[in-house]
Amino acid sequence: MSARTEELRLDGNALGGALLELLGPEGTASVATCGSCGARGELARLVVYVRCPGLVGRCPACDAVLVSVVEGPDQTWVSLAGLRTVELRR
């Protein structure tokens, strides 16, 4: 993996702003289950690539794409298609 690619590989903490409206300020602590391998963990622990454009979150266990988010000037596109569940904290 090139140094440049590594600089763009962060973690699920980076999803927090884009998912603020959907999951609330502490949404990165929400526990999610991978739809591919069933691994379960906080969204903060996903592997997140930035500038894709947007953000792509992958499962740290099996690398499946779980979340993608693109923020435009007037709307945000969110796909959670790779997730089996997200446990929302109250």
Binding site: N13, A14, G16, A44, V50
Partner: protein, 250 residues
Amino acid sequence: MAGAAVLGGLTTGWQVAEVVDAVDETPRVRTLVLSAPDWPGHRAGQHLDVRLTAPDGYQAQRSYSLSSAPGEPPAITVERLEDGEVSPFLVGELRPGDRLEVRGPIGGWFVWEPALGGPLLLVGGGSGIVPLMAMARLRAAAGSEVPARLLLSSRSWEDVIYRDELAALADGPRGLEVVHTLTRSQPAGWSGYARRVDEELLREVAWPAEANPQAFVCGPTAFVESIASGLVALGYPPERVKTERFGATG
């Protein structure tokens, strides 16, 4: 725009903040203290997003960790990355009275509060100290007696962010234990660590796993992943090692 706009019942989260103070921490790092009327308060370890809009409408957005303790006004500490779009402006050009758009606070996982206990191990690489400083400041402000140790890797003594305040926090019997390593250059007579954090250094500095420590690690991706795997190799359960990576797109 005044305050966080509410559209269709959803807050967009963006609000205008004013810079009320700017503090040079090192030649390349500056703290911006902000006044944001709709700021709900934050927890130690959270971050905020900054959005800048050019006259032609082009927008650039970045995340910055909050360095102030909960209860204090939001403050971010920003390192200037020379080829960055945003950080040279934040570090070099913004002045008290200037405004910028922010949203936050953000994050519910990479956070510490005294009730979570410890012993606490904080490991920072360069400006990875920033969210850890919010935790260290909270620990001091709350009078917490949770044993806490900070391992901070910096390039040189001049590059150590919050250098004087860290020395003050280390004062006293229940002070924060601070261990520096200087990877690129060291002052004359330096007797501390002078290399990148490796397994041996980590073994010498980290609390033993038997003490059930809680670790927070923040820095560039390669740094964070090396430290996290090193701590797990020392017996730390993965769920007791919380990590936050930052990129080099400033």
